[in-house]
Amino acid sequence: MKTEYLAGSYSVFDIAGPVMVGPSSSHTAGAARLGKMARVLAHNSVRSVVFQLYGSFAKTYKGHGTDKALLAGILGFDPWDERLRDSFRIAGESGVDYSFQPMEGSAGEGTGWESVHPNTVRFLITTHGGEKFDVVGCSIGGGKVRIVGLNGISVQFTGESPILVTRHLDSPGIIASIASLLYQSRLNIGNMRVSRKRHSDTADMYLEIDGSVPKSIVEQIQELPGMLSVVLLQPEE
């Protein structure tokens, strides 16, 4: 396409923006964004959460308010929500248990995550229903983030294209059914990972989708026999 005006790689609102709660785009805004993604992945139902902090997050989280921002995200607040700084109080009032564990060493060590980024956090979440979620994310600068680990699977979610996360019974045919539902809507799977949990006979699957995923597909997948849960993470905005 021929364009009329010169353009660079920045949008105007990358430069004059974003609106955020300070003080640091990577330690505060990015942290809140990660918390909110982790909450969605845990079906918006967080009873308790342990934040394991790595690298620069482990060292400076108190000063930058990274702790308040992560918790605010877990409560569902956006990076520009001024309630961010009161998240400890609000979590207390709403009965969400939380704790912070600064960790030694690099985030990826011995876990299989593909993360070497200095600003990394691992969320260990228990939902109201007692389900467990393990989410690992990095704040990669300028408020941008990346989810790199999900329930033991190494993933890449940056917020650019949608991802579908399913938990289902580990039985034949279920993955094929999901794929064919997506195919019927002409949706392409960009990337896919599966991890099986033998002790519970369940499997977690992560799918990166090209293009936007309509809600109806999520409902159809949810209806499949053996499907335990489906989460769709959409790009922001």
């Binding site: 396409m1 920045y10 785009s25």
Partner: protein, 308 residues
Amino acid sequence: MESTNYEKGENVMAEFWMSEILKGCVEKGMSLGEYILASECENTGQTREQALDRMSQMLDVMEQSARGGLENPVFSNSGLTGGCAHQYHGYIQKGQSILGPVLADAVQMALSCSEVNAAMGKIVACPTAGSCGIVPAAVLAVGKYRGNSREEMVQALFTASGVGMVIGEHATLAGADGGCQAECGAAAAMAAAAAVRLLGGDDEQAVHGAAMALKNLLGLVCDPVCGLVEIPCIKRNAVSVSVALTAADMACAGVRSYIPFDEVVTAMYAIGKALPQQLRETGQGGLAATKTGMEMYQRIYGQDYGAM
């Protein structure tokens, strides 16, 4: 900050220099601000109204943060800093400032934005959170003095953004890459361009203002105490807007930068690359490594600075 990789059109980034953009402005008979607005719409699919409206929302938040620290003192999340904007505000009100009303107003607003940021208040990163006070302070102080309309201030923010976009394209806007010249320096260049337009100067003068502002912050290192966006960031915002307004004032008088803006940007990047790691946001050199800086480190993190 990192770049957003939205789909680009046919124009390659290599052309995205200020000299080329100004040529485009002349060809199309458009101001720099209008050109940047049109380019934004073309590349993101926003309508003109949407983009103007969005910028107007930015201006709203800028106004709030520029005032948030004046009437009452605000203190940072870490407890290291706070209350400077309020102190200076009181001093101005007693008529003691020697700066003259516009500059003094700009200085207090830059302090306020930065302190609100450190206190986990709402701000507009412009271009970054650390340098968030400079552009708002210049636009609001000059705009108030000149009685500019809100539309003119929004337009000036597009002019400023164009300056920032060129710096981001060909240099960097991250203290971790280029030192504070990339944050407060870039913000001062943006602020100077906006101020020139609000003062009635043309785009060429605006770009000379931007060049003169950036030139005078070249080499500024990023050395935040405890790695936190507070010391020296808050006061650097105040002094950077002074640099911006001085440059804008000279530009409006017809003073030109002998070195063209694009070349100043190239120099800034080269200087940034030459800065040692300790002086690029690691909190391991400069003011962070002073005796007092190290004591603050001990106080905040409960461990020796050497352990960092």
